[in-house]
């Protein structure tokens, strides 16, 4: 397929399909994340990227036979490797024997949170999650370093005039978005704070929150969105999220416990766990939402700049 637009739409559908596949596999938290990320944000970002890089692919001149041969050899080696693997759905598989029984049997007494995924994510493996949040933060800073543009004041008028036509043309879109956005934001907050009891948590909530802001930006234009959400404020928020997470860890260190040992937060260990999980999920949610917004703003801001440049040249 040479049309990249079709490729990206198909990959969005693929993301949604794999989300339903994850539901079938009992991984509801993962499906939640994949549906909002794979079918939502990643499709959007790729679409914004192809508006800047061109929509069609050039025909391939070299022969794909060599690549096909490499792929087939690697694939058959991998399939040969699977012959020793445990069967699908087997409860005796080694992966279920190691630490998983402890998480399933003891997490209610130790952490007191019904959603085991949340208690493993935020409590047992909190240090890993801290690393992941730092990676997301770093990726956001990388995009910022690569794409950030210095705003020139005269651009604002151009964008504003662009928005006016946008407002007149898409009346239905505008009204529907106005109705939907508060509910999306509310739902994001629900997912954030209900993550202990049902599927959800900081990662999903952050992505959904960012999706609402991105919807707003797409419909009302960059300059309106910039007026609502200050770019430097959102960068500050991305850092604050990581800071909240890290400082929870440091508090338990100061109390003579291990890093991210939440029993330091309260006299009752289980109450401490609740508080700790709430705080670090909040940190995760803030960082993820701000980083996604930063990434989108930078892509879209770059695109606006390119359009303005072309308009000025012609």
């Amino acid at each position: 397929m040479k049309d990249l637009f079709a490729v990206i739409m198909l990959s969005g559908i693929y993301g949604l399909l794999s989300a339903s596949f994850f539901v079938a596999m009992d991984a509801v938290d993962v499906a939640f994340t994949e549906a909002s990320v794979g079918a939502g944000i990643s499709t959007l970002l790729m679409l914004v990227a192809i508006t800047m890089t061109g929509r069609t692919e050039h025909p391939v001149r070299h022969k794909p036979v060599l690549a096909l041969a490499v792929v087939i050899v690697t694939g058959s080696l991998l399939i040969y490797g699977t012959l020793d693997m445990p069967y699908f759905g087997s409860a005796q598989a080694p992966v279920h024997q190691h630490v998983a029984p402890r998480y399933i049997n003891d997490s209610m007494q130790e952490v007191g949170v019904p959603n085991i995924v949340t208690s493993v994510l935020a409590s047992y493996r909190g240090f890993d999650t801290f690393g992941e949040v730092v990676v997301i933060f770093t990726a956001g800073m990388g995009v910022l370093a690569l794409l950030s543009v210095v705003r020139r004041p005269r651009d604002v008028d151009d964008v504003a005039s662009l928005n006016k036509s946008m407002h007149e043309e898409h009346l239905i879109l505008r009204i529907v978005a106005k109705i939907l956005i508060p509910f999306i934001l509310l739902f994001a907050l629900y997912v954030q704070f209900h993550g202990d009891y049902g599927p959800g948590g900081g990662f999903q909530a952050g992505v959904i929150f960012a999706a609402a802001i991105i919807l707003y930006t797409m419909i009302f234009g960059m300059s309106t969105a910039r007026r609502v959400i200050n770019q430097s404020l959102i960068q500050l928020f991305a850092a604050i999220g990581v800071l909240v997470y890290g400082s929870v860890g440091v508090i338990s260190l100061l109390d003579g416990k291990h890093f991210l040992d939440y029993s330091a937060l309260s006299a009752d260990p289980v109450a401490g766990q609740h508080l700790g999980i709430l705080l670090i999920e909040l940190g995760v949610g803030i960082t993820v939402a701000s980083v996604m917004i930063i990434i989108f703003f930078n892509f879209a801001g770059r695109q606006n700049d390119q359009q303005n440049k072309e308009n000025n040249e012609s």
Binding site: I8, F22, H58, L78, N115, E132, N298
Partner: protein
């Protein structure tokens, strides 16, 4: 029953589709799409390992004996969000390459580099 391994074969096929896109296509955006398919195949690999027959989603409730393994879910949940962040970084690089070289086709970029030398 060797057919009980079919989940791994689906993963291998998906992974090879992604791998093929990465090595056979010169367009950088397509390469990124290929990488994300490759990435999803790894997600499916982990999640399918976590599945236990007659198990349910790992949210504790009364009257349920068998749960699926929660640990791979945790790993993949964070990996998806990290994946989108790194994909965005890749797309940002592609945009900058387009600005610097005027193209995102691998061959044209290499030609320009050779001319410069």
């Amino acid at each position: 029953m060797i057919l009980g391994l079919y989940n791994y074969w689906i993963v291998v096929v998906l992974m090879m589709i992604g791998f093929y896109i990465v090595i056979a296509h010169g367009n950088l955006i397509k390469k990124i799409v290929g990488l994300s398919i490759f990435q999803t195949s790894v997600f499916i690999f982990y999640i399918s390992m976590a599945k236990v027959d007659s198990g349910t989603a790992p949210i504790l409730a009364e009257g349920i004996k068998q749960y699926s393994n929660p640990l791979p879910h945790v790993l993949i949940l964070t990996a998806i969000v990290v994946g989108i962040a790194t994909t965005a970084l890749g797309l940002a690089l592609a945009v900058r390459i387009k600005e610097a070289y005027g193209s995102i086709e691998e061959e044209e970029i290499q030609e320009k580099d050779n001319l410069d030398c």
